[in-house]
Symmetry: D3
Subunit: 249 residues, 6 copies
């Protein structure tokens, strides 16, 4: 159930049954010569939608632009600064908490978001206490990286081994191919690909990863793989969501 | 051309031809008993996509949550504070300006965003000067409210007269019906509807507009009307975009 | 009644009768070769004082420096960034709301302030809710641009036609001549004057408007005109203030 | 020479001769049962104007609302938070520094502003370095409290002894009587007056200083005294300004 | 070599040889009935000092108060909000980067700091780019949790098994006993101890962990163990530091 | 009693007896060719510890990095911006106030901190009111500069006369020699030393004070003097602390 396709009376009714909501968060950043700039948002959104359908949980609007400062030396990448993203998360969750939501289940498509999201959660708990929102101490936030689901991770290793890499991976590219088969891109990929460098500044990142890939071979991706990853992630996150919601009982 | 469906080399190539980008901005807020919470984002996104297709312009990711604090007494509404939205716009445009974009054409679906957007533009020009981005003084931002297009406005008046109202309007509801016919909602609408009250605090807003509508009768909306509004808005904004882009020559 | 010329017990007594206050806001920015840098503040202040006298309303201190970033390529111009001005408005209104004021009637002398002021109002309503100020949901803010008063606007058109322009206008210059006849400036004005360019960065503004005027001919201004504009604005804003105050009954 | 009564070409010419500017800063806060709420702004403004006339220095717009949080338990008091005032000072001085001003001579009428002003100066030097304003390392700020001028201080002690007190003092009240003889207020003053309490929260302040005075007897003030204080302050600050300006040679 | 015990010419000389610096960061927070509130700062500081001695690296001042909002329902706990800690890290690293430091090796004693530190690093890289610090794109930050050193972790498991827990652990308590044998505390520990609960708000944390421990039995700690952990951590982090410094060659 | 060496139950018990806490604040900044970069933190910390021992008062963690922007043109200096330091103080005191602390006695070792600290206190009182912390209006903050203690000041004048200067003074250097005799530094000192220049930007500071000293001759310092200054400061501040604590009765 997408929040965007609900009316407010429907949300009011929903809150009688559940105080949980799924919030997809992605990124708008380069994904190598063939990966879509929207990859992380596309993956998070479709999987969140799948989890929402299976659990009857409400799914909020996708945060399309996340923390991707290290990718901004490649054109088309967009990023919030961490301090801005913290404020965005704070404003989202304060709005929703005032209405009665208490359990925020983020489905995340981008590793660069994780640290800032976790920092934001701490900031939010404090803000909600400061605002004296009733039962605000019951607010719970959790970040779930779909690509870190055990089943997803294992399947990627099986299919791609070391060529999965860690950015512009065939697994995430596959999911976007499943969602947008009309947007499958072809481009020559250099046989050598940067890998193993820690992430520092944007300029340094591009120096180390000249075409944007981090140790990956996205040419291995297929839409069929994408469907498999999607199914695995949804199945596993449905379980996670149920456990998360149940934990507050 | 959706930025999310491009690769970074495609964006690099695009920038050789154009420094313009379309940025849809909506809101996540109550739209009365039958209007979708995502109405403003849905409308802005679909129209932006249409303008992008017609002009070959790049269309960035939709800002789904805008400035809707006055709607937050209704469950499901979400809002950034104006100060947060200013930072979001700043971060978006700094990222894009560093890559070479210079002309930012916002297609907006929510009246409550306008003041903050305009304030943000001023903040952005200054930030870009502070950062000494080359040719940063050439950055241009423009906000275009699709519902204020002359042709749209006139057509709404023709179809609905005074029942167009100013929030949860049949015209915007119609566009969402055109986009999501499967999500057309039915609910009884009181014959009387609040209208004419200025907008102050969220609590005051709900006091004056108890079901969320502002003088509107969304029951008049049809998907066919939605198609008409969509076509009118796209046609008119294509013209506006071309004029905007041309203005920097 | 100027707040600056009251004692606190007088304010305490006033609050028993009214919770309204008039707040003048101007700007400190270039107004062409002959216009005073303080034009917008001078006009807002004198008109606010006039409205206060006629209505027995309290008039707060003038905000002398507003949002004029686009004028800062001309020496003598000063500006707050929008984000700073929002904080200033917030702090002003929180101070006054805690004391019992509920209705804030801004008399504004500068178009560049409007968007930020409106954004600030939204931020203020939220802040006051956050702070749980008693009856804070009754706070009402309104911006009134004296130069947009119907009678003023019409009179300017009658007197000056197209030469009224939109910045360093003869009407606003006339008001300053009425207030400060000793500071009427003479300088040659180029027959051609920039007009019709949208406002972007400060550098771009000066490129398009090399002497600072926007389509105006301030040489048409006279102190007598200034008196007429003053009278028209005061008369019309007295009415607006009464209506505004009455609206909360 | 008041900045507000200059044109931008006049400022441009002035900057060829001097990079100094006088900035009056006051406060809007209770001054006991008979002192004007605008006392600190009125005094700073009139004295700054006098110094400007004697030195041909430019005088900027008065900062009417300063840091007076501890007075806000009395109605009519307004305050910026220190963090906001720092931003205001930053924005003022960045605007002026970009235009070429380098020496900022604040004439201050309120003790509560001093700490925040000094903190702001440090913030400004850093901001100007960050922005790489040419010769920005030559920027100099100085705060001058008119009431701390040796001659003023001594004269107040001669006239009033201990009854000068430290807030709502007869000396500052006298200056306002000199400026606004039409606004001399009468009210009974309790023979006992709070004194010697450190300043903490607003509530605590009012507990310790129930009528707002701090050890003072403003009933001793006369407009004639006000003239004397004005003359002393102007004379002494003229000297200070000349020394300040000369120090950069 | 402690920065605090150096002179500035010594630092100037050091920078000719190395651009690396070790920065200890801890926390000030409850550590159960017997753990010291300064545990995390004490451990980080002593280990950083040891690594500095072995590598001749400069060791900066300890950040004593970190991100511990979830502990603040226990008296004596202090915390920065994540947004504040980000600013602190930014200011530290901007100061040091301007002087020539490029490699920032944080030795961290508190799990709650990690997310905010990583977010801060991203913010810092961007800030340094914004400030155009020469070679700023070479800045590198790394967080090293001493308690996550493989050798430390294994030794703790050997000594304590499951009773190591995850907060107020015997291993960290042991290190403080080694450093401050005079401050070894005794108090009865309940046989049952909270464990396995995710961390949300401060109130929720205390509800789940009533005496502050998370699954740990700090009664097992001894000063001798502390010496062992200290030696293991220093040895391993010396290696990490050398590798980190070498990585920029 | 150092907070860092307490457990939370000990703090809980302490709060039954006292709501006071001593907070040392120093700086990390150049102190001339022979003074330690940590001088201000070292002095504040040791004296705070001494006062805490004599009064049984709790002593919080030392703020090692303060407001020293004007020293940052010398390598090894670190600084928070004033706006950041205000947030740090706010977060510290909000944490402690929530736990029940009400009296915050800062022992300060650096003149550059004073203005920002005082500004921060005002910000804190307001924040605590905003957060509606029970009895928050009883919060009291006081800054005590150990080097301004009458007895210390006089002794420095006796021992060093004018050569005490105002930065990198023999008195503060002496205290660090007393604490760290192993870190007494030798370096040639130019016979001439800058003095009398006001403090503006960092670059300007170094121009005027090329070796970092301000009118001082730290070669006069001895560890024995340091012991004397330490004793004088502790004795005097013990008295101040008792008076401060007693003031709230």
């Amino acid at each position: 159930m997408l929040l965007h396709l609900c009316t407010w009376p429907e949300v009011e009714a929903y809150l009688q049954e559940s105080q949980g909501i799924i919030l997809p968060i992605g990124s708008t950043e380069q994904h190598g010569p063939t990966g879509l700039i929207g990859t992380d948002a596309i993956c998070a959104e479709i999987i969140a939608k799948g989890v929402g359908e299976a659990t009857q949980a409400l799914v909020g609007p996708t945060i399309n632009v996340g923390m991707a400062l290290h990718h901004t030396a490649f054109p088309g990448s967009m990023s919030l600064r961490p301090s801005t993203l913290i404020l965005v998360i704070r404003d989202y969750l304060v709005s929703l908490s005032r209405a009665g939501f208490r359990q925020f289940f983020f489905i995340n498509g981008h590793g660069g978001n994780v640290a800032t999201l976790k920092a934001a959660f701490s900031e939010v708990y404090e803000a909600i206490a400061d605002l004296q929102i009733p039962n605000g101490d019951r607010v719970q936030c959790q970040v779930n990286n779909w690509y870190m689901c055990g089943s997803v991770y294992r399947h990627a290793k099986e299919l791609y081994g070391d060529q999965e890499g860690s950015h512009a991976t065939p697994s995430e590219v596959a999911v976007t191919q499943f969602v947008y088969p009309e947007a499958i891109k072809q481009a020559p990929l250099s046989p050598e690909v940067g890998h193993g460098h820690p992430i520092y500044s944007a300029v340094d990142f591009r120096r180390n990863y000249p075409d944007g890939r981090m140790g990956s071979n996205p040419a291995l991706a297929t839409p069929e793989h994408g469907k498999e990853f999607y199914d695995l992630a949804v199945t596993e996150l449905v379980e996670s969501y149920r456990k998360f919601i149940g934990s507050s009982l």
